[in-house]
């Protein structure tokens, strides 16, 4: 008996074969116990696939921090991150120390109260100019609020190579964020 090629069974099994093909293969199944047995085995196997269910891992506890706090956290990260880069370039355009001193206490209070110790720790590390800690912080925040921080992370990771124009623009962003957070206090 001539058997259909193995690959031909797949569109048939998934209801994507033409009417003619379907009829031909159905007829073959009726007359060929070997193919019928194999195809039946495939069908039993696929029927069992549904038993492998996944459970979504529990999201970290803090997933719904208010937007205001997120902006605070973002401001803190940007300020501290840029503090590193600006320290490396020739003449800082802004007194990041002063800016940091101004923002940081309320940031830390807000963050510590709602987002836990992890951020306070990261801030301390960042003050020691450990960029990795800042990036880790950002990754953690990304975990919780994916879309908000992609652009920010990208900026941070290229901050060392920023041109003066870019730094100037970023500083404007800081002021904007600062103003925004002050207005929402």
């Amino acid at each position: 008996m001539k058997h259909p090629e193995r690959d031909e069974w797949i569109p048939f099994l998934y209801g994507e074969a033409s009417a003619d093909t379907r009829r031909r293969l159905e007829e073959h199944l009726q007359n060929c116990p070997e193919c019928a047995r194999e195809i039946a085995a495939w069908q039993r196997a696929t029927a069992r696939l549904g038993n492998w269910q996944l459970k979504q891992p529990a999201k970290p506890a803090v997933t719904r921090a208010p937007a205001r706090l997120l902006k605070w956290a973002a401001a803190a990260v940007v300020v501290l991150g840029l503090g590193v880069a600006i320290g490396r370039s020739s003449a800082p355009r802004v007194d990041t120390q002063a800016l940091r001193a101004e923002i940081e206490p309320s940031v830390r209070a807000a963050i510590a109260s709602d987002l836990g110790k992890q951020f306070a720790t990261a801030l301390t590390a960042a003050r020691a100019e450990d960029r990795q800690a800042v990036i880790t912080l950002l990754q953690e925040m990304q975990r919780q609020h994916a879309a908000d921080y992609f652009a920010l992370r990208k900026d941070l990771e290229t901050v060392a190579s920023m041109s003066e124009e870019e730094i100037r623009r970023a500083q404007q962003n800081i002021y904007r964020l600062t103003a925004l957070s002050q207005s929402t206090q």
Binding site: H3, R6, E34, R44, L49, F150
Partner: protein
């Protein structure tokens, strides 16, 4: 379709529309919408391909980071989901390849694909519910398939992609998808029912039984 549904579908941005806004206006809201819509399916894919829910989570985040980073590269003549699946698969393959180099113990010695030693049939890594012994069995079988077969199986049976969509994602002809799927099903059925091979084989070579 009910009136409300129709209206909702009218007002819902398609992925392609959302990506246009992300590309041209850096629209984070639109991007968040896309992530919300796709993060579960992508997580499921990455978890089933790597066999590990936490690795699946890490790869998933990398997928969306990359989508955003490469947003300017997306061309709207390609369906967004095709592009998305493709990126996810490539990152999963990178991960599987990384593991291969460090694998010290392969499952059953045969088609382990470099996975770390799988736990006993009843346990799954944290975060995965293996509701029953049956689920564990199926999981183990699928994870033992070589990745090219595992991929088509997962895309079809767990994510519901049509055969043609799978061909688009993988950038192969449909015939190739069919052939990989047939191989996947043949191997899977033998893993789940080992006694299949103990039946007397026909004298003539049979196209279905080419293992």
């Amino acid at each position: 379709m009910g009136g409300k549904q129709w209206l909702t579908s009218l007002l819902t941005m398609t992925d392609e529309q959302a990506m246009w806004r992300v590309q041209n206006q850096d629209d984070h809201e639109a991007f968040a919408r896309v992530v919300e819509r796709w993060e579960q399916p992508i997580w499921r894919l990455c978890t089933r391909l790597t066999g590990d829910a936490h690795r699946g989570e890490d790869i998933k985040q990398e997928v969306f980071a990359r989508i955003y980073a490469k947003r300017k590269d997306y061309r709207p003549d390609l369906r967004f989901s095709t592009w998305l699946w493709r990126i996810a698969l490539n990152l999963c393959y990178d991960e599987l390849r990384r593991n291969k180099r460090h694998a010290t113990h392969l499952v059953d010695g045969e088609e382990g694909e470099g996975l770390e030693a799988l736990p006993a049939a009843h346990d799954g890594p944290d975060g995965e519910t293996v509701r029953s012994e049956e689920g564990a069995l199926v999981r183990r079988a699928v994870l033992q398939l070589p990745e090219i077969y595992r991929t088509v199986l997962v895309l079809r049976h767990y994510e519901g992609l049509k055969l043609r969509e799978i061909a688009e994602v993988l950038e192969v002809p449909e015939g190739t998808v069919n052939s990989r799927m047939a191989e996947a099903l043949a191997r899977l059925s033998r893993m789940l029912e080992p006694q299949l091979d103990r039946r007397p084989k026909p004298d003539q070579p049979h196209p279905l039984m080419t293992l």
